[in-house]
Symmetry: C2
Subunit: 512 residues, 2 copies
C-alpha cells in the first residue's frame, strides 16, 4: 500500500496486477510497442457470414479466461452484450472479462451471469446497478474504470487484450464494411468501435441491416473484420440515441450557464478559431447555446467542436460557427443525421480523440471544455464516478481526457445537491486531478485555480462572484452542514485508472 | 538454387535474405504478428513543426543502414525523394534503403547518390533509368519489386521496416492532419501513404500548404504523425497528375478494346452489381468507355470501380453506373476534383485495396480487371516488369493483385510491338502467374484459359477470333520471326516478389 501524489492509498498489487500510483497528468511515458495481433488472409469468394452468435463465438475460439468487447454507441438501446453473455453461458464458458467501451444500465441483465461466474471482471466503466452492487459487496466482479482515452490506450498498449470484439453494426455488408449512420439501429459515430477494430484479436460485425456490397460510408473496413453475423435487431431504436437533447430550464442551471459563458469570454479564448467541447447535460447545453449566441453576436468563426455531439453543435456547424465537428459519439438524432450529410462532421476514433499514448490527440487542441461533477474538492479534484453515498455509479467518459487537453476546463455544478454540498474537503473518489481543472462554476460562486491570475482579475472586473474555493467550501457547508462521512471497508472493489494507466484512486466496499 | 513452381530458378539466399520460391497464388499464409512500433506521447502545446528536412532526419535518429519511404502519388512531379537523398548525403548518412511505394523517372537524380553509397538498395518497384542501369550491371543497387498489395503486406508483416516515412502532404496542419485533395500540389488519394502512416517507425508530414487546424478532410490523422516540415514546393503540379487521361485512337487499340468489351459481355458479369478496374492506358480507357456505353444502353447499375481512378470512372460514378469508387491513386485532375466533391468516391489504403494478408482486400470483390503486358506466354504468365531487352523498366503496380482478386482478369495488348511478338514461349520475367489470368485479348485473336469452357463457347457463338494460345503464338511468330533470346549473366540484380512475399521470378544482369 502506498499513497499516490494526491494522497490516495493505492495497493501495490490488486487481483494479481501490480499498480502504478498516479504521479501527475503528464510525465508517464509509454514504454511498450503498440499492441499487435495475428495477420490472417482472406481469398476471393471466402465467406465471412456466420449463421449465429454461437458460431461466431466458436470460430473465435473463445476460451475461459478471455475478454470480449462491445461498443456502447447504442447506449441504453443495446441488446448485444446481454445476448452475448447469455450465449457464453449456454456454451459453458466461464471467467470471461468484459472489456467493452462502457456498460450501461440496460446491461443489468447480465447480473445473474456474474453471480454464476460467466463474467468475472469488467475492464471498463460501468453506469448503474452492477457498479452499485459491486460497491456494496453484493457482487464479486472487480471493475477497472477507464476514461475513453485511457481505454484506447489500454488496447494500444496491450494492457487489455480483447480476444473477440463484437461490433454492433447498424449498416454492414457481407465483407464487413460497416457504418453507424444508416439502418433501424443507426447510432451515428462508431468512434469507440474503431479502436476495437484495430486491436481486437478477432472482430465480428453483428448487424440487423445487411446491405449490398459496398456498405457506404465505410467507417470500419473489410480489412479489419473477420466475421459477419446477422441478427434480428441490435436493440431499441428509441433508446439508442435521444430524439433530442434539451438544455436546462431551471433558473439555477441557467445562472450557472451564464456564469460559465462569462468565464469563457473573460478568458480571452472566445475568438476566431475557438474550439469547444460540452457534454449532453442540460447545463452544458445551456452553455453551448449561450456561446452560440455570443459567437453570432461577435461574428466569431470557431474551429471545431468535439466529443459526444448534439444537435446544438450541429447547428453551430451548419451556421458556420464551427468548421469541423470531431465526433466520437452522437448524442441525439440530429447529430446522426448530420454525420450522414455534413462533410465537416467527422467521425473519429476514441484513440484520435483522446488516447494519451499516440502522436497527438484531438483534445490537446481544445480551447475549452465544459464538464460535470458529482463532487469537487478544495484542491479542484473532481469526482464523477461515485456518488456521495460512496457507491460507484458512473463511467468516467472523456472527463479526465478533455480536462487534461483543454486550455480551460470548466466544471459546472449546482452548489449543493439535496442537502449535500458540491464542494468537499476531499472528494470521495478522484476521477480528474485538480491540476487539470481550471474553473468551478456554481450558481453561488465561481472558483478559479490559483495559476489563472489574469482570469481572476477579469472576473472581478466583470463583478462576477469569484470566490476562494476554501472559503466557498465553508460557505456552502454552513448551509448544508458537514455531510456524514461514508464509511468504507478495506476491500478494494474497483480501480479508477487515470488516462495514462496509473491509478488515481480506488473504490472500496461501502460499509453498510 | 531451386526452381519455383513456374520453373524459374530462385537462389536459396540473396544478399543475406532467405528466399521462399513461389508455389501458387493462394496457399501461403501469414505466420507472424502484425508489425508494431513504439508508442509515443504528445502533450497539449507540444509542437511538431520542424524548420527543415535536415532537422526532421535528425529528430528521427536516422542511422546508416536504415530505410526511408515516400509515397508516389505525386508521380513524376515529385521532388521530395530527391531532396531527401541529397540531404542524407550532406549529413554523411550511408547505406540507406529506399522503401517508397514506387520510384519514378524523376528520381533518376538520385543515381549519383547510389554510386556514392548513400542509397544501397530499393525495396520497391522502379520505373525507368535506375532499374535499367541496375539491369546492365552499371549500378550496384539491389531492387525488390513488390506490387502495391505486396508492399502493404511487407510493411504489415514487418519484412520491410520503414524507419522514417516522409509523406508529401498537399494540405496539412501543424498537428499533422493531412490530405491530398487541396493545395498547389494536390494529387488526390493518399492510398499508399496511408499504409506508411500506420507502420513506419517515424512519420514526417512534408507540406507546401500548411493550413489552419484542422486540415480537412483528414486522410491521415494527427495521431499517426510525429513531425511536420514546411517546404517551398512538393513538386511540379503539371507532372503530379495528368490534366486528362485519354483513350486510344489507333484502330488496332480500338479493336482490342472492342474485343475486350465483348469478352466481358460474353462472361455474363456485365449486369447489375458489376465491379471493374482498369489502368490509365489508352486501350484500358477505351474499354472503360465502351463498357460505360453498354451499361447505359442496358441500364446496368454497377457496384464499384477501383484502383487508380480516372475521369472516365468519375463520369460513371456521377451518372450512376457505379455506386462507389475505391481510390488508391488519382490518375487525372478530374479524379482529384471528384475525390473532393463526391461522397461515393472513397480514398482507400493500399492495404485495404490489395494486401493479401488482411481480413479481405477490395480486389477480392472485383468482377473484372483490364491489365496491360509487355509480354505474355503460352501458360498465360504475364510480364510487365522487364522489356524484351531484358532490362527491368517497370513497377508491378497492382497488376498481380487485381489479377488474383478478379473473377475475370483480361490482359489487353497488341499482338506484336515493333517486330516482337507479344506472346512468347516463356516470358522474360513473370510478374503475374498464368493461373490468375483468364483472357488475353489482341487485335488478331483472343486466348482464353482452359478452365473457362462456357466463355469459349460464347465467344465462338459471337464469332469472335478465339484462338488457342499455343497456335496463336506460332501464328504471330511466323510473322515476327522468333525473337533473339536475351542473354543473361548469373548475377541476380532484382527480385520479383509475388504479392504473398514468395519469389515468383528474379531479374538477372543482361549480358552486354
Amino acid at each position: 500500500m502506498a499513497k499516490n501524489s494526491l494522497g490516495r492509498e493505492i495497493p501495490a498489487v490488486w487481483r494479481g496486477r501490480s499498480l502504478d500510483p498516479y504521479m501527475d497528468p503528464w510525465s508517464r511515458q509509454p514504454e511498450v510497442l503498440r499492441a499487435t495481433r495475428p495477420l490472417v488472409r482472406c481469398r476471393p469468394g471466402d465467406s465471412k457470414l456466420l449463421p449465429s452468435l454461437r458460431v461466431a463465438i466458436e470460430m473465435c475460439e473463445l476460451k475461459n479466461g478471455m475478454n470480449i468487447s462491445t461498443h456502447h454507441a447504442l447506449r441504453n438501446g443495446d441488446v448485444l452484450l446481454n445476448m452475448l453473455v447469455k450465449e457464453l453461458d449456454v456454451m459453458g464458458l466461464r471467467d470471461i472479462g468484459i472489456a467493452s467501451s462502457s456498460v450501461h444500465a440496460v446491461n443489468a441483465e447480465i447480473i445473474p451471469y456474474i453471480r454464476k461466474g460467466v463474467i468475472t471482471r469488467i475492464e471498463t466503466g460501468v453506469n448503474g446497478l452492477i457498479a452499485e452492487l459491486v460497491s456494496k459487496g453484493e457482487l464479486d466482479c472487480p471493475i477497472v474504470v477507464r476514461s475513453h482515452g485511457g481505454r484506447a490506450r489500454s488496447l494500444a498498449t496491450g494492457e487489455v487484450e480483447v480476444d473477440a470484439a463484437f461490433l454492433a453494426a447498424p449498416c454492414c455488408d457481407i465483407t464487413g464494411n460497416l457504418n453507424g449512420v444508416y439502418g433501424p439501429s443507426a447510432c451515428g459515430s462508431l468512434g469507440y468501435a474503431l479502436t476495437d477494430a484495430r486491436y481486437a484479436k478477432k472482430v465480428i460485425a453483428v448487424t440487423d441491416n445487411l446491405v449490398r456490397f459496398p456498405a457506404a460510408p465505410i467507417s470500419i473496413g473489410q480489412s479489419e473484420v473477420d466475421y459477419v453475423v446477422q441478427i434480428d435487431s441490435l436493440g431499441d431504436p428509441n433508446k439508442i440515441v435521444s430524439t433530442t437533447t434539451r438544455l436546462a430550464r431551471d433558473p439555477a442551471a441557467l445562472l450557472i450557464a451564464r456564469y460559465a459563458t462569462e468565464v469563457i469570454e473573460a478568458s480571452g479564448l472566445l475568438k476566431d478559431g475557438f474550439s469547444f467541447q460540452t457534454g449532453a447535460g442540460g447545463t452544458s447545453l445551456a452553455v453551448a447555446d449561450l456561446i452560440h449566441r455570443k459567437m453570432a453576436a461577435g461574428k466569431i468563426k470557431g474551429s471545431f467542436g468535439c466529443g459526444g455531439i448534439t444537435g446544438y453543435f450541429v447547428d453551430m456547424l451548419e451556421q458556420g460557427y464551427f468548421e469541423t465537428l470531431f465526433d466520437v459519439q452522437c448524442f441525439d438524432l440530429k447529430a446522426v443525421e448530420s454525420l450522414r450529410r455534413n462533410p465537416g462532421h467527422r467521425e473519429i476514433s476514441a484513440s484520435l480523440y483522446a488516447n494519451p499514448y499516440n502522436r497527438g490527440e484531438v483534445v490537446n487542441m481544445l480551447d475549452c471544455v465544459i464538464l460535470g461533477a458529482t463532487e469537487v474538492d478544495v484542491d479542484f479534484n473532481v469526482n464523477v464516478n461515485t456518488e456521495s453515498s460512496g457507491y460507484l455509479l458512473h463511467n468516467t467518459g472523456g472527463h479526465c481526457d478533455a480536462a487534461a487537453g483543454a486550455k480551460l476546463a470548466i466544471v459546472v455544478a449546482p452548489s449543493m445537491r439535496g442537502r449535500l454540498p458540491i464542494v468537499r474537503d476531499a472528494v470521495t473518489t478522484i476521477t480528474t486531478p485538480g491540476e487539470t481543472v481550471d474553473v468551478i462554476v456554481t450558481e453561488r460562486g465561481i472558483c478559479v485555480a490559483d495559476k489563472h491570475v489574469d482570469l481572476k482579475k477579469e472576473l472581478l472586473r466583470r463583478k462576477l462572484p469569484l470566490k476562494d474555493i476554501r472559503q466557498f467550501h465553508e460557505e456552502i457547508t454552513r448551509i448544508t452542514g458537514v455531510p456524514r462521512a461514508v464509511e468504507f471497508e478495506d476491500e478494494v472493489v474497483a480501480l479508477i485508472e487515470y488516462r495514462d494507466g496509473s491509478i488515481i484512486d480506488v473504490v472500496r466496499r461501502v460499509r453498510e
